[in-house]
């Protein structure tokens, strides 16, 4: 059973809103104390997401550290997203979906050849969006002097898949199932320090993670919780 937690925040009062189309990337600094909401606008859309300490990008979201800290696989309200240095980067404070994935990672053109067919290599994939989004971070976040960090493939690590359902069975099988999400469902996080948010709105057409129909997500940011 999952518990759903609604937010009291109204998007009308938000300080920043951005619709991210399927197949696009999004990179932005979320400052300590700000609230970031990611909305699954039309339902069953995977939002592949990475977070980095904005002042020290080598300190970044770690799927395995987050899993071991909570001794559990899935993310929901109350989960702290733990970094490679053991720091809490963000905390999930509201969640109307109930379960988010830490194991499925991102699709890539190379892994599509392995998973589906060698001739699928041309299809757009999350890692390409992540790479381009990471390369643009230095340009879009001047105040953090991120140009000193040479962004590239090494920064693309195991990500969160918000709204994606990847159940694990007690005998150790792993499956991709149709999403537990639906139109308008969202997850909301409070930044515990200044963090860079890097999202690839997943373009995958070969499995049910996007219900075979990738759709937009919306990112909404409030300056303060109160």
């Amino acid at each position: 059973m999952t518990t759903l937690t609604e937010s009291k925040l109204d998007p009308i009062t938000a300080d920043y809103r951005k619709v991210v189309l399927a197949g696009d990337y999004f990179s932005y600094v979320v400052k300590k104390g700000q609230i970031i909401r990611i909305v699954d606008v039309e339902g069953n859309q995977a939002a592949d997401t990475l977070f980095y300490d904005a002042h020290e990008p080598a300190n970044r979201f770690s799927a395995s550290d987050t899993i071991r800290h909570q001794s559990a696989l899935y993310l929901t309200t109350g989960t702290r997203l733990i970094s490679t240095e053991g720091d809490a980067l963000l905390t999930i404070v509201a969640d109307t979906c109930g379960r988010h994935d830490t194991l499925g990672g991102a699709c890539s053109r190379e892994s599509n050849t392995m998973r589906y067919a060698l001739e699928k290599e041309h299809m757009h994939a999350c890692r390409d969006s992540f790479i381009r989004g990471a390369q643009e971070i230095s340009c879009s976040c001047h105040e953090f002097h991120l140009e000193k960090h040479d962004w590239g493939k090494r920064d693309i690590t195991s990500n969160i898949n918000f709204f994606m359902n990847v159940p694990v069975t007690p005998d150790g099988r792993l499956t991709f199932e149709d999403g537990v999400s639906g139109p308008g469902r969202y997850v909301e996080l409070r930044a515990e320090r200044d963090v860079i948010c890097l999202i690839s709105n997943c373009p995958q057409l070969n499995n049910p993670c996007n219900a075979y129909n990738p759709t937009p997500i919306e990112v909404i940011i409030w300056n303060n919780e109160e």
């Binding site: 770690s62 550290d65 990672g105 892994s111 392995m114 998973r115 990847v166």
Partner: protein, 240 residues
């Protein structure tokens, strides 16, 4: 596999090791005491931005753990290594490694000044020390394998460490399909609830091994693995 190892090394206590093993060789791990854990990361020795990828290994084979005849995948659609033999039957892929905070919280502080070489080590420090010798560092830390350790998930995703999973004398044989930088340590599993600090000794042996045949069980264990082997062969065809 050749009967005489080309290389033998015993990892003592919380030991660590890194080295390049070329394709056509196999690495055997032996759990000398029972209850061992080997944290392991893999990189393309010739291009280390290509690295072991937990999600691709799991979703490519529809599994949450690894065992023979499964394979360890890179993030470039290729296979670093095949698990050609395995007495434990389940190796954790998701729990990562211990860090200094976890070790101090679970086992107490035991520094070098007081304890000399019985001091408490942790998995993260061991990875970073060995990665640095190959020009790698914090940006190259990704979710690692935990060989010999079993962790199961219930329907809600809650994880439980299974103690006593690996027996004394247990072995795992990895056949390398790529020239691979292997980085490993024998620190205890991060979810091991045993309150006693007791990293187990592990033996490493490297053997020459023939290339996989067309009917190789690992290559053919999944259609995804067949394609990953083709990708790997294409990569080396261009380098040859």
């Amino acid at each position: 596999m050749s009967s005489t190892p080309l290389f033998t090394k015993q990892l003592h206590h919380a030991g660590m090791w890194s080295g390049v093993i070329s394709r056509g060789k196999a690495l055997r791990f032996t759990d000398l005491e029972g209850g061992a854990n080997v944290g392991m990361l893999l990189y393309n020795a010739d291009q280390p931005t290509e690295r072991y990828n937990m999600p691709d290994t799991l979703k490519g084979q529809h599994i949450f753990h690894v065992r023979t005849p499964y394979c360890l995948h890179s993030d470039m659609g290729r296979v670093f290594a095949s698990i050609v033999a395995d007495s434990a039957g389940w190796h954790d892929t998701v729990c990562g490694c211990s860090d200094a905070t976890l070790v101090a919280t679970k086992y107490g502080n035991k520094d070098y000044q007081a304890a000399r070489n019985e001091f408490h080590r942790n998995g993260r420090d061991c990875f970073l020390i060995e990665l640095a010798k190959h020009g790698l560092g914090k940006r190259d830390l990704v979710p690692n394998l935990n060989l010999f350790s079993k962790v199961v998930a219930d329907d809600t995703g809650k994880l439980t460490y299974v103690s006593g999973h690996s027996k004394a004398g247990g072995t795992i044989d990895l056949r390398f399909e790529m020239n691979t930088l292997v980085v490993l340590n024998t620190c205890q599993h991060p979810l091991d609830f045993d309150p006693v600090y007791h990293p187990r000794n592990v033996k490493l042996e490297v053997f020459a091994t023939p290339p996989p045949a067309a009917d190789d069980p690992c290559r053919n264990s999944r259609p995804e693995n067949v394609r990953a082997f083709i990708n790997t062969e294409n990569y080396y065809a261009l380098l040859a």
